[in-house]
Symmetry: D2
Subunit: 333 residues, 4 copies
């Protein structure tokens, strides 16, 4: 069986998913839609697909699954329409910036029985997946302390920040999902500090660019997250899990791993410049997992509930910063 | 000039300092005192020193400087006596478990003009010192985020825990000093989570064995600290500082740095087993810095004020855990 | 323009090249031939190509370029036929095991003006290519000493050894090409030692499984090569170049780069298990370079002359082992 | 028991040994002799020893052991005198530049039954010693291929080169000893290439500054050595042993192991600047091993025979370069 795909949104992340679909022997990209027709056309031609309207893709008989890469404020509506149309759905995170809207959307998904996967690509990175595997294999015993370092190479443009929902919902949300993926228990409380150290413009929009978060589970397991919107040395993505019997860590990746030595020392090149190259394998594996689930008629993971839990942690972190106290996640969602 | 030393307390850390003094060409160990006479005798003989009573050392005319390695609850009194006796003083941390007692003690030190150095040995580790040097040299620009990972190889015995003042005053206090050493600004607020994940006995004594702390300065600089009382892989001591222009990190140290590869992978030996071997160079450099200050008639650093600030952060962290909120350091001391 | 490919030989390396062609947007796999029809069929179907006879591919009007992955003893004849048929030719190394036969073949190639590329894939590995780039950029000054460590994960089966031409022509030949690629001068003399340490069966066939080689250029630049047919820790592929101003090295690659720490130390997973995964990117880049040359009407590199020079070094190394002396390369070819 | 030392030669290496003796609780430096009286005086005063004449040290009743750090051409005579005087002898390498002279000297040592240790300090480096221990523990199975990279930070002054006996007897000799220490079998044949790439002045003296050597044992085990008299990145000292079951390697050491990351990449500081700091621990361990042997009345290792074997390999390497062929070690000594 070949899973036939429609793609909504031909922007940066849409291109990434289109390439992943095209390189997957069990998937085929059938149609692309984008509000900007030339963008849709370019992407469709690159992979031998058609340009169609969004409505046509939703109702198409020759499309099994749809990837949603449109702006965030359209996600929940599209999920509901596609769920009702019987499509398998892959939606970029977040489902919505508002917890209540996500909850309403997931009710529709549940009622229709639609297959919904949310784009937490990092779970599919081979290195991070191997960290989780090491935990599952009992290599480090019971998980106790998770450390996530996650820094973007550079601050996003003001326009992006404005629509992003803020650092916790836009950037840390990946780390919240990773924390849940690795802690083995749901975080129940959150303490967060955040500041504007990189770009005052971000502060003027009411957002932050540097944040530190502690998550704690009911049994006392802890996760610390360190975020910055700027790292001169590349896209900094590290994970470490300390447990009762040992520790497992995934170090940073770089496109070229040579070392040059001279009088100034031993130098390795900078890290990947951003997620498109850092997570190439992750995106391919993510689509492959979605395709496998669709083929097998299984519900894919991570799902809408995972999207909701990560968003709730973002909401709790934001409240913690604003109110200067530890926030119970249960009070949020 | 040779600085002539008396040593109070011939236990584990007393032995470390005695060796550092003996290997320093500008220092000489003159006398050792300990409540357990055989311990004092053994240490004195090893380095060609005498056994004397504590009182004799305080009043000795042939002793310029005294190292205090006795139990914590004797530190403040001894500092005051030695300050009044005109000795240069090197005191193991902490000065006292009580902030008010420390403040009172430092008043005596100030009034007498005594030279007092507090044993935050990690500032003298060549690797951590190089991290600070890189910051001072402008290599990473303005400091933004400090990450300190600090894990003991194994939980201390119940008896030690009882007298320790708790994880924040006993263990994290080194990390608090390191945070102050690297942040370039005083932390003004603290959020902490702590739990008992390693040894329930520690919990029964009202203490914690696993802790996560966020410190924040007035300008928004942040430091996250991750502590555990147990690491199967050795004494885990890492520091990383992220700044506007770059990042500097000091990795873990091991006594033997070979790598063995076979079908199970590439394996390097565990880390140092604890502070005595991990910080051998740091202890030697620390005594050398103290000797140089005494010789030059300068006040040594870190001093009593540094001891007080670190203790205040420990107090604030403990309150944050207990009260479930961010604590202003100014409310503590 | 799209370069239309025929593929001769659907074995292990044929599959690698087929995948590289299929994933290249500027290339298309048109036809596959193999003496074993089912092998040809499986590979053709996987990538939407046809099965044709070898003769049909040679004479096809809809094929621009042919990849030769057939047994070594067919290479030279096929190159000559394809050259005369006006095809661009990509041939797996070696062109032939016999220096004189290679020289005769290259005369035909020269006369027909055919584009011939020889499959020294390692030049296209991003890490090794970056080593060469660092040299070209003047980062290490004049090259002085090249060190190549090259170890297969396991000894080949007897049947393979029999047809291989021996370790120098089959395995070290890649290192000889890499030495030429990095030294910046032609090696003029060779000293080699070789022994049977891994598998006595290899010795019974008159071959070796462990070899050490020194190459020297006219100006005294040196390259040492260390080969073994077995490495329990994976496919060991390292390069280091020491120059007047510095050093550049490409370390080993592994599929998953996590680290697990416990009481036995810090362990990273084994290396790639062999060339198919280790050099995935290299094979894709190699085909891309061939396609670009064909598109542009340029002669590709490495070419037949490179294949001949590497074979001559293999011949010289073998003579050095047999005769117990340093061998002038000029005496071989 | 305390071993009482005399030291002959207060130059660079004499100072290193004096410090090692002084820091050893079981050893005491009694007297220093040097042709340059001020040098002897400075060193003696630094460690509370006396200045004596060489003759007085040879005949002294209060000296158990003598360390020879005088110029190479005095070593053999001094060993013979000290052996006859009943002293335990620690002699810097080499015993002599001439194989026959060494053989004659060792006959005297054997006849007198004197304890003679030769200064191959690298055997006592904790990292290299751990490599050997891993082999002895069976971690890598039977040794097959040893790789030694050994590069000085900078070329020695012409005066030093003149008296050095050439690169093989002066520099590679350490690597020859290390090869013997690790191969587990005596090398029986040697192939070497050498050139002048660093400093033409070295060439004018008939010496080389860049060399590559292959050693082979009777069973076919191989060792490759790569030497250069200059490395801009510090004192390059690496060892790797590949065996039937695995591989063990000792990487380079640096005084400060931090890493700084910025837009130009991740940079670690250069290596140690030379042997005095790189091998500090090795020198201390070496003297400790000598002291232990003297105390226990055991013959120390490495001994005169080890010194002779390493010299024979140097001689064989030189012949190999000059004659352009593989040299049987048995033909040398």
């Amino acid at each position: 069986m070949t899973v036939r795909f429609g793609l909504l949104g031909a922007g940066r992340i849409g291109k990434v998913h289109a390439a992943a679909i095209a390189s997957n022997p069990k998937a085929r990209l059938v149609a692309v839609a984008d509000a900007l027709e030339p963008a849709a056309r370019a992407l469709a031609q690159a992979w031998g697909a058609e340009v169609r309207s969004l409505d046509d893709i939703v109702s198409a008989g020759d499309i099994d699954a749809v990837v949603i890469c449109t702006p965030t404020d359209t996600h929940a509506d599209l999920i509901e329409r596609l769920a009702r149309a019987g499509k398998a759905i892959f939606c970029e995170k977040p489902i919505d910036l508002d917890v209540a809207r996500v909850e309403a959307c997931l009710k529709v998904v549940d009622k229709t029985g639609a297959a919904l996967m949310v784009g937490f690509n990092r779970r599919f990175d081979p290195h991070f997946a191997a960290v989780r595997q090491a935990i599952d294999d009992g290599r480090i015993g019971a998980v106790e302390m998770v450390t996530i370092t996650s820094r973007d190479p550079g601050a996003p443009p003001p326009d992006y920040v404005k629509r992003s929902g803020g650092i916790f919902r836009d950037m840390t949300i990946h780390d919240f999902d990773m924390a849940r993926f690795l802690l083995g228990e749901e975080p129940v409380s959150v303490s967060a500090h955040a500041a504007v150290l990189v770009d005052p413009e971000i502060g003027r929009m009411g957002d932050f660019d540097s944040a530190s978060v502690i998550l704690e589970t009911a049994s006392g397991r802890q996760c610390v997250i360190s975020n910055s919107r700027r790292a001169t040395y590349g896209y900094d993505q590290r994970i470490e899990v300390h447990g009762a019997k040992g520790m497992v860590a995934a170090e940073n990746q770089r496109p070229v791993s040579i070392e040059i030595a001279d009088g100034s020392g031993y130098t390795r090149p900078p890290l990947h410049d951003f997620f498109m190259t850092r997570y190439t394998e992750a995106y391919a594996n993510e689509i492959a997992a979605f395709v496998e689930a669709v083929e097998a008629g299984r519900k894919p993971k991570p799902d809408g509930r995972d999207g909701l839990r990560a968003l709730a942690l973002a909401e709790a972190a934001l409240r913690s910063v604003r109110e200067g106290k530890r926030v119970d996640v249960a009070s949020v969602a």
